[in-house]
């Protein structure tokens, strides 16, 4: 134990946060330095993303278990998904992650015009994603593939009745027992993509706010943490899709 001359009496040195030393206007008062603030907030964001992983983890667990149990139903179910729109949406999201990354870079290099443009593009792509998703959902509604709402087994017990899909995959009819498990596939499909879409909607709302503040020049004077942290969120939602897309659309597809 060293001798305790200053003990808890405090740091008299001028380095401490006292008196009139300057700090940027966006530094919150309870932080000692701006580095501490940036460190703390980005750490918090990563932790939040960790909770999101646990949240989606529950859904992925359910998916993996039931896929193992009811493999034929999951294959038949995935054949119903529209690969064209799915791929298009993947491209849209990856592009939006690029524009988001550009936005963060613009904020860091203090380019206001570039930041606003990137954020607007990101928002636009996000909305395109949601639009495409709604096209896909409406296809499912038309075919009565929404669990609980007059769910129809016809496409699975009698695949030939659904020529568009049948011509592509030549699925054999499923026994009634197995066909009924397709409802579970679509249940998980809606739960997983729905939760993802909900995150997209929240993201788009925050983007609107960011654009508003960016226009006022709030993020191009060195205060980049908010934009950076939102970028992390956006990329995270993107990554969730990167897992959803193969699990739901691709891995059960045999040409």
């Amino acid at each position: 134990m060293s001798d305790s001359t200053v003990a808890v009496s405090g740091a008299q040195a001028e380095g401490a946060h006292s008196g009139h030393h300057e700090h940027p206007p966006y530094q919150r008062h309870h932080f000692e330095t701006i580095e501490q603030q940036m460190d703390a907030t980005s750490f918090a964001m990563w932790l939040f993303l960790l909770t999101e992983i646990m949240f989606f983890g529950g859904l992925f667990t359910a998916y993996l278990i039931y896929r193992n149990w009811y493999y034929p139903a999951f294959v038949a179910g995935s054949h119903q998904l529209n690969i064209f729109w799915g791929t298009a949406n993947t491209a849209v999201l990856i592009t939006s992650s690029f524009t988001m990354a550009m936005g963060v870079w613009c904020a860091q290099t203090r380019r206001k015009g570039g930041l606003v443009l990137s954020l607007c593009l990101t928002l636009l792509l996000g909305l395109v994603f949601l639009g495409i998703k709604s096209i896909e959902y409406s296809e499912k509604i038309e075919k009565h593939h929404v669990p609980g709402f007059h769910y129809s087994l016809r496409s699975f017990t009698d695949p030939a009745s659904d020529p568009e899909i049948y011509d592509q995959y030549h699925d054999k009819p499923l026994a009634l027992d197995m066909a009924r498990h397709t409802e579970m596939y679509f249940g998980l499909y809606f739960a997983m993509t729905g939760m993802h879409a909900l995150h997209m909607i929240i993201g788009c709302a925050i983007l609107g706010y960011l654009i508003f503040r960016a226009q006022a020049g709030d993020y191009t004077t060195g205060h980049v943490t908010f934009v950076e942290n939102f970028g992390l969120y956006w990329h995270f939602v993107d990554i969730i899709w990167i897992f959803l897309f193969p699990l739901l659309y691709l891995i059960s597809r045999h040409g």
């Binding site: 134990m1 740091a11 309870h30 703390a40 932790l47 646990m54 989606f56 859904l59 579970m184 739960a191």
Partner: protein, 556 residues
């Protein structure tokens, strides 16, 4: 020093509460509702959890009253189901989970580590609002006729067979869960990034360590509960089939998801309480906590092991007997870090200068009752005995020994211990010692008979029971009445003390934590200057030296 008390108060004729402090800084309702100050948010939490504790307690009173007689006569059986469900929901999600962390933890962690606030004050405030929103939804549920799934939302009962307010309760817990996530997240970030210069990890008070461990559980566990509830809601509204055996779903999957959170949740509830006990035992024995490092790591060990024992809630649900073996073993392993704590607290007492102020009395209550609660947990973790004892009153008694005997005692201990810091005034010592005693006696009368009832085979969750169980049930209900008095007293005299209590001064217990070296109640940003820490936690010699220096300065 052989006095029977360590309390040292300033001269009451001259002492004043500091004019400027976090309570007087600003006035008006809005200054509280929009505050970012962790201490004010802690006070908001304290008021709201006390409110919900009163509701949960009243429901417990109704349960005990119904069980006074073997017949179901006070209320209809499905009303009884609703009452015990609401008791569980309110007490677990709205009282036990936030009790110590959101009040004492919120108030003290920044003070203990030498920070001006938690890292994310707005998120902290948001967490309180989420808590209130969840609470209001629970109140709505009660007004709308309640819910009778049991607090565990067991599927398919909750998804298919009940026509009660499962949705609003589910959404309420979902929202309150986010309040807990944000509290935990805030603590982790704060403890990592906001420590004062010199406050190394192994100089942190054990209170901070145990909150860190609990926060890990909150952050990793609660989202899984959230998704489990989302799936229950989707199952109920859309029938997506994941928990519906008729569609090929498996209700047991719900059990896995639910207990993946809800078992760690009991450690979320107990760990912060253990932190309180470490501080109190050390202060009133005038000794550094024995085996500081072991106690610190045992908190983390509980957090880690706690994630791998959930299946012991499912031994009777037809899970594989090989996995029950593994989970049984892991369950017993959790007893090890808990025992490390109990042993180290006992060694701290050994040859300490023990005094018996109220917080210490509650701490003794904790040690005894938690040990009983913990050891009966080992009985239940043993697969053979579990099959006999689970779903009986034995498990009710076990859980209440840990949660009420353990956590609630720790909560009251902590509230009394830090009351002078939070309010600047002392609670009345004699009556509070009496209250601690009443609580202890009432508790044992209430819950010990339930162990016997359980081994005799009385099942839980029924409004009626065979007449031969009546004597023990009457004991239990009588005990609950005493316990009720024990809880009412602190609410009354603590409120009284807000105005009439003695002025406490900055350090009435002569404790070593940073929080005791500043004025009570503290300033809005806690420290006029950020302290530099050059001593370990619980270093009473350091405190002596500090006092000597201060005396020298004043005599010169």
């Amino acid at each position: 020093m052989s006095s029977s008390t360590i309390v040292s108060l300033p001269d009451q004729s001259t002492a004043r509460i500091p004019k400027v402090n976090f309570i007087t800084k600003e006035n008006g309702l809005l200054s509280w509702l929009l505050t970012g100050d962790h201490k004010r948010i802690a006070m908001l939490y304290l008021a709201s959890i006390t409110f919900f504790f009163a509701i949960g307690g009243a429901l417990a009173g109704l349960i005990r009253l119904e069980l006074l007689t073997p017949q179901s006569d006070l209320m209809a059986t499905d009303t009884y189901n609703k009452v015990f469900t609401m008791h569980g929901v309110v007490m677990i999600f709205l009282f036990l989970v936030p009790s110590v962390p959101a009040t004492l933890g919120n108030f003290l962690i920044p003070l203990m580590i030498g920070a001006k606030d938690l890292a994310l004050p707005k998120i902290n405030l948001l967490s309180w609002y989420l808590y209130v929103a969840g609470g209001i939804l629970v109140l709505y549920t009660m007004a709308a006729g309640g819910v009778d799934t049991g607090w565990t939302f067991t599927t398919p009962l909750s998804t298919h067979y009940l026509n009660t307010n499962v949705l609003s309760t589910g959404i309420a817990i979902f929202i309150a869960g986010f309040s807990s996530i944000f509290t935990g997240l805030n603590f982790i970030v704060t403890i990592h990034k906001m420590r004062a210069p010199g406050m190394t990890w192994f100089r942190l008070p054990l209170f901070v360590w145990s909150h860190y461990a609990a926060s890990i559980l909150m952050v990793l566990g609660t989202p899984v509960l959230a998704i489990a509830l989302v799936l229950v809601i989707l199952e109920r509204t859309m029938g997506i089939g994941v928990f519906d055996a008729a569609k090929g779903g498996d209700p047991i999957l719900f059990q896995h998801l639910f207990w993946f959170y809800s078992h760690p949740a009991v450690y979320i509830m107990i760990l912060p309480g253990m932190g309180v006990i470490s501080e109190v035992i050390s202060t009133f024995s005038r000794k550094r906590v024995f085996g500081y490092t072991a106690v610190a790591f045992s908190s983390v060990a509980i957090a880690v092991f706690g994630f791998f024992v959930w299946e012991h809630h499912m031994f009777i649900m037809g899970v594989s007997s090989y996995s029950t073996l593994v989970f049984s073993l892991l369950t017993m392993l959790v007893a090890v870090p808990s025992a490390i704590k109990i042993f180290n607290w006992s060694f701290t007492l050994y040859k300490g200068s023990i005094t018996f102020e109220t917080p210490m009395l509650y701490a003794f209550g904790f040690m005894g009752l938690f040990t009983i609660g913990g050891l009966t947990g080992v009985f239940l973790g043993t697969t053979g005995t579990d099959i006999h004892l689970t779903e009986t009153y034995f498990i009710v008694a076990h859980f209440h020994f840990v949660m009420v005997g353990g956590m609630l005692m720790a909560f009251l201990s902590g509230i009394h211990f830090w009351w002078p810091k939070m309010t600047g005034r002392m609670y009345p010592e004699k009556i509070s010692q009496l209250a601690a005693l009443i609580t202890f006696i009432g508790f044992n009368f209430t819950f010990f008979p339930q162990f016997i009832l359980g081994t005799l085979g009385m099942p839980r969750r029924y409004a009626a029971y065979p007449a031969e169980f009546q004597v023990l049930n009457v004991f239990s209900t009588a005990g609950a009445t005493i316990l009720g008095v024990g809880y009412l007293l602190p609410i009354l005299y603590l409120t009284w003390s807000l105005r009439y209590g003695e002025i406490a001064g900055s350090n009435p217990w002569q404790a070593t934590g940073l929080e005791w070296q500043i004025q009570s109640p503290p300033l809005t940003e806690n420290f006029p200057e950020i302290p530099i820490v050059d001593h370990d936690a619980y270093d009473y010699d350091w405190l002596e030296r500090k006092h000597e220096r201060e005396r020298e300065v004043t005599s010169v």
